[in-house]
């Protein structure tokens, strides 16, 4: 792009009152750049001024200094132009009042002692903006040559079928892949099911049969039963999927990454690159590498993962006190349902009538009031349903007893609870079940702390344990992605093996772009909830396809046209980018050279931060653009002032730290004027070279400010602040080797609403740096 530069400084909102605008204008003028000011740049007149320059003089690269980039975004939006918003308002004049940073008197100017911190702050930011726009470009989207808009639905149960129908209704082609010989999953194996619409009072016949018929009526829905996914290779918009029969072994089965134990030799020493490659090949013998595409593979654009669940088998001795595994008439709710779906319920031991059935919700004793694992609110509802079965089968004298700690029937499902409770043959009580034991031909259930008295005993023909719904991902990666990072989702341990999202606000986000989970594979749910979830996942799959078609990223950087560019000539095959990418967007070849898959990418820049050779960058965000901003900061030394001010760099996450800084400014909270902020896409994108640049420049301290990490991580890109933390710890060693104090580089947590903590965090760090003294490399 042939750049024509223009700098525009707004003097409204107190900027003109606080700063020496002429001095500010001197900054671009010194470099021969045109600069204009206006007292109200975001108003009609101000915008016209800019538009005129664009039209008449061909200005296409603008630095607009004034309010934060987060406001007036629609006003300062000029098509075809590069625009950088320099924040002189919230982060300069509003947070650094003249009362605290007085302007210099005439005598004080040029006396080699006094300096105007506020003016220096503003001038530096203008310099930084100018440096940045020189190094960035307008993005050109990366559009796939061929795109498939077909959606792969893994799982042909109620969830998968619903997702397929919903996608088909919106005009998309779908294939359902189901491992069993027929569609329907568990929803087809029930006697009756819970209601799917108001008033939620009665059991209803299963809805799955009608749904299957509906799916079969769509010519755009392909149904493949007796089929599973061997591997999904490629990227959203062009997945190459190999399907196979369950149990079959093929050369396109998905390879697995080496477990850690296999990456070291017998003595515990790490294997070298060639050795690792050999072990990997041996480990995945018979399977083609991930980069070998199946010529017979089918093309898909996005995936809905609806592979459902299986009943918990309650293995081990934890449930011995309930007689499970010992007494044949103690069964799980799954086993009970199976019996009920086949006919009248009878005792497994002798086939006699099961007129008195006890349902046990919670296995614990004493203080533990939780239900069985993997249950959610489902087992409360299911026990009510199955209690009704007993009454259906034995209307005269059938009795059902439900022992619970909490009846978990939230929301409108409360109606179902109330309705079933009306049945005179169903008894419910809170209680701690102590034991289930043999009692002649039958059983006896003993419980404590019930609503009916301290200790009670109930005679039972059968006992049903309310065991949970184990997601398919507990046993198997299922989605079998042919990604170098491995076939499954990496973080399911956070969710007890469910394929769920860690974001409250964004429930469909997974670490694998283009793959959306729905139904009981992500949480134990009712059929009604599963159908709703399926519709959402279908939308996300469609949205992904359409975004890929336009060459833009999906959430959270929705609409971003940039993508990481690699200068492979200098790649040293260290694989850090491949390993650290939170989304597995990179696959490396045998040599270790990463292969980018742009449509898997979320544009966070973690790869850019990881690369020690600095070969990765984005059109509008790269090593040089940020590095130049760092180098543009003026570093006064003892040559300029007897006691020069400190210079501290703050690399701040634009998602939470930057807004917090804005709000702090809006509330007129003040903090040191010696800090220079540079917003980054994610702390994970911070490359240590920027820290080294800052230090070798003579800056005295650097801090990173972003979200907290850990199990409840906030990072929109999953691992950003965690990775930054690890890298910063390593930099401590580099600092020590230069005889620089470790304290000079730090990382702080902040949440977006913690603007009141900003001054404390910044000023404390400044104090620490004051303690260790100025950077010895200053002035060199």
């Amino acid at each position: 792009m042939d750049k024509k530069y223009g700098v525009y400084i707004c003097t409204g909102c107190g900027i003109g009152d606080a700063l020496d605008i002429e001095g500010l204008c001197g900054v671009p003028k010194e470099e021969g750049l045109g600069v204009k000011t206006h007292p109200f740049l975001c108003g009609k007149e101000g915008v016209e001024l800019i538009k005129k320059d664009i039209a008449d003089e061909g200005i296409n690269t603008l630095v607009i200094a004034g309010c934060s980039r987060r406001v007036n975004f629609d006003v300062f939006d000029f098509e075809g132009c590069i625009v950088d918003r320099v924040n002189l308002r919230e982060q300069v004049v509003w947070s650094h009042p003249r009362s605290k940073y007085p302007a210099l008197t005439e005598e004080q100017k040029d006396d080699g002692e006094h300096f105007d911190s506020l003016q220096m702050l503003a001038e530096d930011y203008i310099k930084m903006g100018m440096a940045k726009v020189k190094k960035i470009d307008l993005p050109e989207p990366s559009i796939l040559e061929t795109i498939s808009k077909k959606i792969l639905v893994i799982g042909g149960g109620i969830t998968g079928i619903t997702a397929a129908i919903d996608a088909a209704k919106a005009g998309y082609d779908v294939a359902i892949v189901e491992k069993e010989a027929s569609l329907g999953g568990y929803a087809a194996k029930l006697r009756s099911q819970l209601p799917v619409e108001g008033p939620f009072e009665d059991l209803i016949p299963t809805v799955i049969e009608a749904k299957i018929k509906e799916a079969e009526s769509y010519p755009s829905i392909e149904i493949k039963t007796d089929t599973i996914v061997a591997r999904i290779a490629g990227q959203p918009g062009e997945f190459t999927v190999t399907l196979k029969k369950p149990g079959e072994k093929t050369e396109f089965d998905v390879p697995f990454p080496l477990p850690d134990e296999m990456k070291v030799d017998e003595k515990g020493k790490e294997l070298d690159v060639d050795q690792l490659a050999e072990v990997y090949k041996e480990f995945n013998k018979g399977k083609n590498d991930i980069l070998t595409l199946d010529p017979n593979g089918e093309k898909f654009g996005a995936v809905v993962l609806a592979a459902g669940w299986r009943g918990d088998k309650l293995e081990g001795n934890a449930f011995a006190h309930l007689g499970f595994g010992k007494l044949p008439d103690v069964v799980t709710n799954c086993q009970f349902e199976e019996m009920a779906s086949k006919g009248r319920i009878t005792r497994p031991s002798d086939g006699s009538e099961a007129k008195s059935v006890v349902f046990i919700q919670s296995p614990g004793k004493g203080d533990d009031d939780s239900d069985f694992d993997y249950t959610g609110s489902i087992t409360s509802l299911v026990s009510l349903k199955q209690a009704k079965y007993v009454r259906e089968d034995y209307p005269d004298d059938g009795k059902a007893y439900i022992f619970y700690q909490h009846m978990r029937t939230p929301g409108l499902q409360e109606n179902f609870y109330k309705s079933i409770q009306q049945d005179v043959g169903i008894f419910l009580t809170k209680g701690s079940v102590v034991s289930v034991s043999k009692n002649g031909d039958g059983l006896i259930v003993e419980a404590d702390d019930t609503l009916l008295g301290e200790k009670i005993q109930v005679k039972a023909d059968m006992v049903v344990l309310a065991s949970g719904m184990v997601p398919a991902t507990a046993d198997d990666p299922v989605v079998n992605l042919a990604y170098r990072q491995g076939p499954g989702f990496r973080d399911n341990a956070l969710f007890n093996d469910y394929a769920d999202s860690n974001f409250i606000c964004f429930p469909y986000e997974t670490q694998r772009t283009g793959v959306y989970a729905a139904g009981c594979i992500r949480r134990s749910m009712t059929i009604e909830e599963s159908m709703e979830d399926a519709t959402g996942a279908a939308l996300k799959a469609i949205q992904c396809l359409e975004s890929v078609d336009r060459g833009v990223s999906v959430h959270p950087r929705s609409g971003d046209m940039t993508f990481p560019d690699f200068f492979f000539q200098r790649c040293t095959q260290c694989k850090r980018c491949t390993e650290e990418c939170p989304f597995g967007a990179l696959d490396d070849d045998e040599k270790g050279t990463p292969k980018p898959n742009p449509t898997r990418c979320r544009r966070c820049g973690t790869c850019m931060g990881a690369c020690p050779e600095r070969i990765i960058g984005f059109a509008d965000y790269n090593i040089d653009s940020i590095g130049s901003m760092v180098k543009a900061v003026g570093i006064p030394s003892e040559d300029d002032y007897s006691e020069p001010p400190l210079r501290i760099l703050g690399l701040v996450c634009e998602n939470d730290a930057y807004p917090a800084l804005d709000i702090a400014g809006m509330n007129r909270l003040t903090y040191s004027a010696d800090v220079r902020f540079i917003p980054v896409r994610c702390l994970g994108s911070v490359n240590v070279i920027w820290i080294k640049d800052a230090l070798s420049q003579g800056m005295d301290g650097i801090f990173l400010l972003g979200c907290k990490h850990g199990d409840d991580y906030q990072c929109h890109f999953v691992k950003g602040s965690e990775l930054a933390n690890i890298r910063m710890k390593k930099i401590g060693d580099a600092l020590a080797s230069l005889a620089l104090e470790e304290e000079r580089v730090a990382q702080f947590d902040i949440a977006i609403d913690e603007y009141d903590k900003i001054p404390g965090i910044i000023d404390s760090f400044v104090e620490v740096i004051e303690g260790v003294g100025p950077n010895p490399f200053k002035g060199f």
Binding site: G12, F40, C42, C67, F73, V75, D166, K169, A170, G171, E197, P199, D369, S370, Y374, S377, H406, R408, T409, P410, G411, L412, E414, N415, K418, K430, D449, T450, L451, F495, I504, C505, F506, P507, R523, S524, E532, T535, G536, L539, K540, I542, E546, R550, V554, H555, P556, S558, G559, N655, D656, P659, I663, N667, D712, Q714, H716, A751, I752, D753
Partner: protein, 425 residues
Amino acid sequence: MAEDKAAPVSKSIMVVGGGISGLTTCLEAAEVGYEVFLVEKNPYLGGRVAQLNQYFPKLCPPSCGLEINFRRIKDNPKITVLTLGEVEKVDGSPGNYDVTIKLNPRYVNENCTVCGDCTDVCPVERNNAFNFDMDKTKAIYKPFEMSFPMRFVIDSSVCKGSDCGKCVEACKYNAIDLNADVKTLNLNVGAIVWATGWEPYDAAKIDNLGFGKYDNIITNMMLERLASPNGPTKGQILRPSDSKQPESVVFVQCAGSRDENHLTYCSYVCCMASLKHVTYIRERYPDAKIYIFYIDIRTPGYRYEKFYKKIKEDKNVFFIKGKVAEVNENPDSKNITVIAENAVTGEKIKQEAEMVVLATGMQPTAKNIKLPADLKYNEEGFIINDFEKGGMFATGCANKPADVVSSNQNATGMALKAIQTLVRR
């Protein structure tokens, strides 16, 4: 009344309600590529979640997700946001709806720089509904710290108008127009998603629980505002009568929910919300004694169960299964005594505490305000979805009581349902 006749738009979607559900439906549909109109009656987006301090179970700030959503709006030219908008009439059928929208005047235009000079000179105060009337703002006010759009607004019900005009004088940017008028906008859209959300159930209706009678009985939403750094007490939880830091707090679960006399259903979130409130209190008062009176603790799913387990480990939190039947106030100390029957032991319990929090439920907004469209409701005022008919759908708490995660799943799904309506035509 000025009338604006916009050119008829086909293949567009309208979302009524700019809370987290409405925002989600709007964004998800727009990012597939559809044009969406987002109508919100408040002067800001975010609805109820903007009033929350933190979400359970991660204890993360709602403004985090809202900031990302607002950024997605900023980056998407297909979205038109109409705050201070109310739908007056809906005619038509799936694929072809004529909607009349009343646009209430903000009286503050895009020149506003949020400098605050106007608020300093405004002579009129008003009850701050955002903080459940626990404090006041001036007649010209900024909705809250991170409002989007970030602009002041005038409450015309209390503003003296041109008779006063002090704000206009003070404004350096000509941002205030006291003569701004109500406008009407007519739009033709293909599908409508109703995301009209919920109101906290009026606790004053629950006679036996003393809200409104005794000072130190507050609701769960009021506690959210007290705990919020941008709330009426800057994040301090102080009891109303004397601003004392409470050393003991009672939570009354199912206050008005699961009750034939009030809300017959379970409001879904109150158990988790109260457990979250325990963390708020514990963060500020390490030794406070907290008593939770419940019927059932509903924390379904692995993440919520983990959260509940953690709270149970707190030695100063006591769980009692028993519905609170009545409350009394000690006229001197202003402490409240709640009376309940322990359902397990059968004994009558009298627990005194310095503050009581009623975990009141959620009532759909559509229960109390008739929506001007041909919609079906259940007995409780929740909008029922008719997917066969299509065209109009309900999402979030307008459809059923739900937490944020479920609401957003549902909202994403309703975006697709709306798209299906457009594709069918």
